[in-house]
């Protein structure tokens, strides 16, 4: 290496140091710009990978198709019956609310979104969705599926947002256990194994009587990102530790097969 090389090396290091001195807000805006530029490439990649997945799914034998058809017919009958039942319950609910002069509970405004990319890094669990501030998505908005909570938005660009998944150690949610007064903080694990990811519910009472199969919901504490009552998962195991109790929770949402999600924009 000659003198010129040393000078160039110094300039390169200095450039990196300048970037390191950026505030988190500035870093976020740079990332938002990157997402805007990479948007078309990500969308194209997502479309190609979707087509490949569909092609793989489409290659089924006649026996498999017959089996699937039978299962779908059974499910259809079951759903019709349950829809009929919920219709009756809904009208009864409305009648009772009116009788008690209750205000109609505000439902959430949901924005459907598709997952167009998954974090390829080893230490973070994030996905990219095809909605951004052009569709009124903001940072720190809950993202869910029909099964339960998926995560929250972090960086938002014009048409793409990054969602921090519930399985990430940094995504911490105030949670309560159904049918009890137990509340704790639910988060993912730092490095999940190959199997389906599990969540940990910390800071519970060490004497809590929690049984496997109990459901866990968001607690919705004031000022929190997540509203109350969103399903999170089901308790798999409870262990008392020296100072508190910890439960292992199996999430309701299937994180390995996430395709379509909803962003909670706010109440209607």
């Amino acid at each position: 290496m000659n003198k010129l090389h040393f000078i160039l090396l110094g300039v390169a290091v200095l450039t990196a140091v300048v970037f390191l001195s950026f505030s988190s807000e500035r870093m976020r805006s740079w990332q938002s710009g990157y997402l805007r530029v990479s948007g078309p490439a990500l969308q194209a990649g997502s479309a190609i990978s979707g087509r490949v997945a569909k092609l793989q799914k489409g290659l089924k034998t006649l026996d498999q198709l017959e089996e699937e058809n039978a299962a779908l017919s059974a499910q259809n009958s079951e759903l019709r019956a349950s829809s009929q039942l919920s219709g009756d319950l809904e009208s009864e609910n409305k009648r009772l609310r009116a009788a008690l002069d209750y205000r109609e509970r505000s439902a959430f405004k949901l924005l459907p979104a598709q997952i167009i990319g998954r974090d390829a890094s080893s230490w973070w669990n994030t996905v990219k969705i095809n909605r951004g501030f052009a569709q009124k998505v903001d940072a720190a908005q809950p993202v869910l599926t029909a099964e339960g909570l998926v995560g929250r938005t972090t960086t938002v660009s014009k048409d793409i947002s990054i969602v921090l998944l519930l399985t990430d150690e940094n995504c911490q949610v105030a949670a309560r256990v159904e049918g009890t007064n137990e509340q704790g903080i639910l988060s993912g694990q730092r490095v999940a194994g190959n199997s389906s990811p599990e969540l940990v519910l910390n800071f519970l009472n060490r004497d809590a009587n929690l049984q496997p199969g109990m459901k866990v919901f968001t607690a919705g504490v004031s000022g929190a990102v997540f509203p109350a009552g969103i399903p999170l998962g089901v308790i798999k195991e409870f262990r008392a530790r020296e100072l508190d109790g910890q439960a292992i929770v199996e999430p309701f949402a299937d994180f390995s097969r996430l395709e379509d999600v909803f962003v909670v924009l706010g109440s209607q």
């Binding site: 990332q31 998954r118 974090d119 230490w123």
Partner: protein, 180 residues
């Protein structure tokens, strides 16, 4: 020239493509990281100033792709990967003559070592930020798995770029002409 442009473009495309490659189940869910493999090729092949340019380009794009901002907290800030690639590229300089003589295994080993050190450094920084240090088999697989995949992938990258016209003349030590 074509090879240099292709290298820069490949790094950007690799960053995008990585998002659609599922984790490898038999390696403990390890991810395939294409970028360090491509960077090592460029670091061993390009002249020093161009290597520095490639380091900054690769580092900036990697940081932007993997930046993790939660609230006001950034786990690995913008610029760390730039530093990593600048120092990695500089450290690989002594191996360049061997590589230019056609020793493809230099690139292979460099890719494995670069992927391993990148993930290990990232993990140490994440642990420091989160205030606790955990090390188990899962962590080992998440670091060693991509390094093994990089070792396997490197020869393919080497022979692919070998097919493209180089177009950069190089004078080695003592002024002898080396082929790129």
């Amino acid at each position: 020239m074509i090879r240099s442009v292709a290298l820069f473009a490949a790094i950007y495309l690799a960053l995008v493509a990585q998002e659609f490659i599922p984790p490898v189940p038999f390696l403990g869910g390890a991810h395939l990281l294409l970028v360090p493999v491509l960077f090592c090729y460029g670091a061993l092949w390009l002249p020093f100033p161009a290597m520095l340019g490639l380091s900054l380009f690769t580092g900036l794009l990697s940081d932007l792709a993997f930046l993790h901002v939660v609230g006001d907290r950034v786990e690995i800030g913008l610029g760390w990967s730039m530093l990593f690639y600048v120092f990695l590229g500089t450290a690989l300089r002594p191996l360049q003559p061997l590589f230019l003589q056609g020793r493809w295994e230099v690139h292979c080993l460099a890719s494995g070592a670069a992927t391993l050190s990148l993930l290990l450094l990232q993990y140490i920084m994440v642990c420091l930020r989160r205030g606790s240090f955990l090390f188990d088999w899962n962590v080992c697989w998440h670091i060693a798995g991509p390094a093994v995949l990089a070792l396997l992938l490197a020869p393919l990258v080497y022979f692919f770029f070998k097919l493209l016209p180089a177009g950069i003349p190089l004078r080695g030590r003592g002024g002898q002409h080396l082929t790129r």
